[in-house]
Symmetry: C2
């Protein structure tokens, strides 16, 4: 890893801007709403002529009854499986779970994943062209919520002529979308599974989210969000890198970082200068650079805000009353070492679902990998997801 | 809290620089080393004519056998008890434990606390005048380690004519100093107690420390560390505030923040603008401002580095061999909800001490307050510290 990592670090982030990654097409498909169609947003803003970029695998049957929606996490995208390439800066994030004969069996199911509203991988976001000005939205992009993203996905479902998903499944922020699907469109969802998520963002999550946003805002190259056509062609990479380092620490755990790095340092000859680095620091630098190459800082701010605003009870009364809207079998999963979405959050969700009379099953992923375990412990995830999907299909 | 907090937020941080707080005298005493005396540092640097600022309570007996050294945490200082005021920006951090009849009974003991090397409360640090240039050290200040601070405290002990401390006690980074006292000067220590600390900094701690340092470095007003006489008279307050917010999240816990703030927001009329804040965000802003008013950003970077470099095994062989140097009764305490120094670190220290044949007692503070619990749960701390101190005195 070190050699690869060193090469990466010597390779500057293109001054043209990592946000342009989203402009490449790759093998995504685009659902473009009518130019005059206005998408009204929960926070009061609106978007005109929005686009939803998505990928799909398998074949939709004649009754359109075999479709499963997967919802991606904060900086994830629609590329659930497949190698990286044009339009897909990262390899598939759930490779072992999707394909012929796998948990999400593409011989039986039609698997869809859509990029979230406000992101930077093809769905309308701050780096998209604002039809009012013919320039990127930048700071003019409105606040979006998880409910807005789910509404955009519902419009995509209409477009695909899918009245009802067999299941909606996702982890982390994806799990938030999953819950909102069942709450906003109970008739359109046959089952839901939410992993390492919550029914509302906690103060600790909001705090961590805030420091990430402030890290970007502290970078003078952020320019209040209007950096896409800055004279020097450069964006807030340093701020985004810092935000990612902060987040990555919360995605992992004491145990996983201790196992991986202990106290080894980058160069045994140097230790006592102020900026000499331990290996864990070099690793965080690398994680920061990797994100800065593929993600837009404005999207990062916006999606973190959407996460903070997530609360299934907003405008719906108390938790039990809100959750009573859910009419389908529900799976909730926790990760033992998750610092960001600790098990008490999923336990509260499970208890709330039970009180609301929802058919809920609860599973625990026993792992030292922290929050990221739902993207790592494939065997454990498969062990409960496969029977769940088999049962409801 | 909200009213006070709002007032605070409207009160700008003085452009003259929070680092000048350390120049006020208050009721500290100063041990000034000879101007020609060179303090050689572990990392290869050196300091000439350093000063150690300290406070003391009680009376040293004729045999100098009743002296106890308390070691402060990262951004703490010598002001263990007493109100805030000139030279003491914060109230005493262990008020309920020190005084007549208390655990650290000032009728019986002579209690000393010294500001650490590299800090900004009177002991030589980056904001001090460099005798080579007659200007503040700034970026010229050398890296210091916990061992360097302990060496400076040993020189203070010589100055006070204390050959042997009855006990050395501290939490967090203070607990690191405690351990180094027993390892570097086993004949000069009668007993030690280390709370919520470790025998070496973990990769997770190093990572969190790194992001704090980088937050300051990202602030253009940091100017590579040479901001003390900047033309605009302004320093990296924003960077330091961000670093403090990050740290404060790790000092607390999911449970304590959830209990305190839930999902309440600052202004019920505003929620959906990008920078509208939840109460937890306002609280973190306040914590950041509070630190920026009383602490120097260069010291923050430097002391975090010292913390990362802490490892009792450096140059001393394996853990058991290193810990065999300790010849005195030792107390180790954990906090159940500590994310920053999780109990596994104190358990490893305890086990290492037992293997090394050290007389060790182990205690657990049961608290939702996270790492800060050793500064909050006074009754639990007293319950094990008072018998420990009584027994060894």
């Amino acid at each position: 890893m070190n050699e690869k990592q060193s090469r990466y670090e010597n390779d500057p982030i293109p001054a043209t801007g990592a946000w342009q990654v989203g402009d490449a097409v790759g093998n995504r498909m685009f659902f473009e709403m009518e130019p005059k169609k206005v998408l009204a947003l929960e926070g009061g803003g609106s978007l005109r002529g929005a686009t939803v970029a998505y990928e799909a695998w398998g074949t939709l049957n004649a009754e359109a009854s075999n479709a499963i929606l997967l919802c991606h996490a904060l900086t994830g995208d629609s590329h659930v499986i497949g190698s990286s390439g044009s339009g897909h800066p990262s390899e598939g994030w759930w490779e072992p779970l999707v394909g012929p004969g796998k948990t999400f069996d593409t011989d039986r199911f039609f698997i869809v994943c859509a990029n979230v509203l406000g992101g930077c991988q093809g769905t309308t976001g701050p780096s998209s062209i604002n039809p009012e000005t013919d320039k990127p939205y930048g700071s003019a992009f409105p606040v979006v919520t998880i409910r807005d993203t789910v509404r955009s996905q519902a419009l995509l479902a209409d477009h695909l002529e899918i009245d009802k998903w067999l299941a909606v499944v996702g982890g982390s922020v994806g799990g938030m979308q999953v819950l909102e699907w069942a709450l906003m469109f109970p008739q359109r969802v046959g089952a839901i599974a939410t992993l390492a998520s919550a029914y509302s963002a906690s103060p600790l999550q909001i705090g961590w989210s805030q420091v990430g946003r402030l890290a970007i805002a502290l970078d003078p190259k952020w320019r209040g969000g209007n950096y896409y056509h800055a004279d020097d062609g450069d964006g807030p990479h340093q701020g985004l890198m810092l935000a990612r380092r902060i987040a990555h620490l919360h995605y992992r755990s004491d145990a996983s970082l201790s196992d991986k790095f202990a106290r080894s340092w980058v160069d045994p000859l140097y230790l006592f200068e102020p900026w000499d680095r331990f290996q864990v620091e070099s690793y965080l630098d690398y994680q920061g650079q990797k994100l800065a190459r593929r993600f837009d800082a404005n999207s990062y701010i916006l999606l973190n805000k959407a996460m903070d605003l997530f609360d299934v009870t907003r405008g719906r009364g108390r938790l039990k009353m809100a959750l009573q809207r859910i009419k389908c079998p529900t799976l909730v999963a926790s990760i033992t070492s998750d610092m960001l979405y600790p098990p008490r959050q999923q336990e509260e969700l499970r208890d709330g679902l039970q009180e609301a009379g929802v058919d809920v099953s609860y599973h625990v992923i026993d792992s030292d990998h922290g929050h990221d375990a739902f993207l790592v412990e494939y065997e454990q995830v498969e062990a409960f997801l496969r029977p769940f999907i088999d049962k409801i299909s």
